[in-house]
């Protein structure tokens, strides 16, 4: 964190320390409000918008906010944009710790739905990040009923977990990048299989 964004420990005798603290509090509150209320179709706020709302030190303010949100189990997450620039980077609030399976179910996801999504993400990633819909469906057909596959793939494309490019290939969607630790998912699927094998 830069020195100018640490007004909580000002130089001794600094006359404006209270004002700086108040300004930081105000900006942190503003950052929270901007992030929590959905604007437009997709959640999150882009870097250029954040700079407009909070000033050029917005990254440091978001770090402070992320720390402040720790007791509530939330964090500010950064999703790099397609251009890789600060302006295109998307910031959003998300759960710091993953929910339990029963909690996930209360959010409207059935176990089978989550399993389809997990398998789809893992397979797309293993196939260089793109796979034809037919290939994905053929693979999932070995584990899930046909009607659920069609329904789930369409639903996840709509929600942004999966994406379809101009060549009609399925890709990983923006929401997966924002919400899911893909690397851990791949590792856990492989480890889970090993545990199942060892139990047998």
């Amino acid at each position: 964190m830069s020195a100018e964004t640490q007004p909580t420990q000002p130089a001794a005798g600094a006359p404006d320390s209270g004002a700086e603290r108040a300004a930081l509090d105000r900006k942190t509150r503003r950052a929270f409000q901007v992030l929590i209320v959905q604007r437009g179709r997709n959640p999150g706020v882009k870097g250029w918008e954040m700079r407009r709302y909070l000033g050029k030190d917005y990254k440091a303010i978001l770090e402070v906010l992320s720390d402040d949100l720790k007791p509530l189990g939330l964090e500010v997450h950064t999703v790099p944009g397609p251009e890789g620039t600060d302006d295109s980077t998307r910031f959003l609030l998300r759960f710091r710790d993953p929910p339990t399976l029963p909690e996930a179910e209360t959010a409207g996801f059935r176990i089978d739905d989550l399993a389809v999504l997990a398998a789809s993400i893992a397979l797309v990633n293993s196939k260089q990040g793109r796979i034809s819909r037919k290939e994905l469906e053929t693979f999932l057909k070995g584990k899930f009923p046909r009607w659920r596959i069609d329904y789930s793939i369409d639903r996840y494309i709509k929600r942004g977990y999966l994406d379809v490019d101009d060549k009609e290939l399925i890709r990983i969607g923006w929401r997966t990048r924002a919400e899911i630790d893909e690397r851990s998912l791949m590792t856990m699927i492989l480890a889970q299989g090993t545990k199942t094998d060892s139990k047998k």
Binding site: I36, L92, P99, A104, L114, A118, K127, A178, Q192
Partner: protein, 252 residues
């Protein structure tokens, strides 16, 4: 011979474009395309092209090769990243573990987005304007689903008023078709559809319309074979039968 050679060269280019497109629209390894070899083919043929269309194909092939090189770059980056796992191994693992275990793996890596869907005064105003200007449901798709009035009955008077028929013309045509029917049936049943068949759908409809009058007058009779659903028409000898009923026939 030179024309055949030209065709062969053009075929090479078209095959190359198709190959590149197939690679791009599937998850096949892009290194299956030997870029160097394909470039040499293009280079060899380039001085021989003289038609602009072929030159355009050549440049399209070049563009497709560039796209494949881009895919190869992405492929290497992905393979070098931590996300790369042998697809076969992963497919096998996914088939082995249960759905519950898969869902649990997902839940452990999932950090749902926290957000509030809040109705703002501006949003409320937009909703109000939308609701106010919304066309009632009954009127909404009227233009899309109805073309004018629905199917109905059109009488002779109406046809006369529309100048489709004059009374004299109608009588003449009715007499003509009755005479034709008498000649063709000559005391036997004949196929109704065959009889009304005209040279175009309009004439068929017109003949069907006129025959309906002959039948209604009691001068002809229509019989439908219940097994084959074939329709027969015959002239009635003597007085018309009292036991008549209406039959609806679709004329195509």
């Amino acid at each position: 011979m030179p024309a055949q050679e030209d065709d062969k060269r053009l075929e090479d280019i078209l095959r190359l474009i198709e190959l590149c497109r197939n690679i791009q629209s599937s998850s096949v390894n892009p290194f299956e395309v030997d870029i160097r070899e394909k470039l040499l083919v293009l280079k060899r043929h380039l001085p021989e092209w003289d038609a602009i269309d072929v030159m355009l194909k050549d440049s399209e092939a070049m563009t497709q090769l560039v796209a494949i090189v881009k895919l190869q770059d992405q492929w290497i980056k992905h393979r070098a990243s931590a996300l790369y796992i042998d697809p076969l191994l992963l497919e096998l693992k996914i088939q082995l573990i249960t759905r519950e275990e898969l869902a649990e793996c997902f839940a452990k890596c999932w950090h749902p987005i926290a957000q509030v869907d809040q109705l703002t005064p501006k949003g409320l105003e937009k909703a109000f304007v939308y609701w106010r200007e919304l066309v009632p449901f009954a009127d909404r798709h009227r233009d899309e689903f109805t073309v004018g009035e629905g199917a109905g009955i059109i009488g002779l008077e109406e046809l006369e008023s529309l100048s489709i028929f004059t009374k004299e013309e109608f009588e003449t045509r009715l007499n003509a078709i009755t005479k034709e029917l008498v000649e063709k049936t000559s005391g036997k049943e004949i196929d109704y559809r065959g009889f009304i068949q005209g040279k175009d759908p309009e004439e068929t409809a017109l003949r069907g319309y006129l025959v309906a009058f002959v039948v209604t007058d009691g001068r002809a009779s229509i019989r439908v074979d219940p097994l084959t659903e074939q329709i027969f028409i015959s002239m009635i000898q003597g007085k018309p039968d009292d036991e008549t009923k209406s039959v609806a026939i679709v004329v195509r």
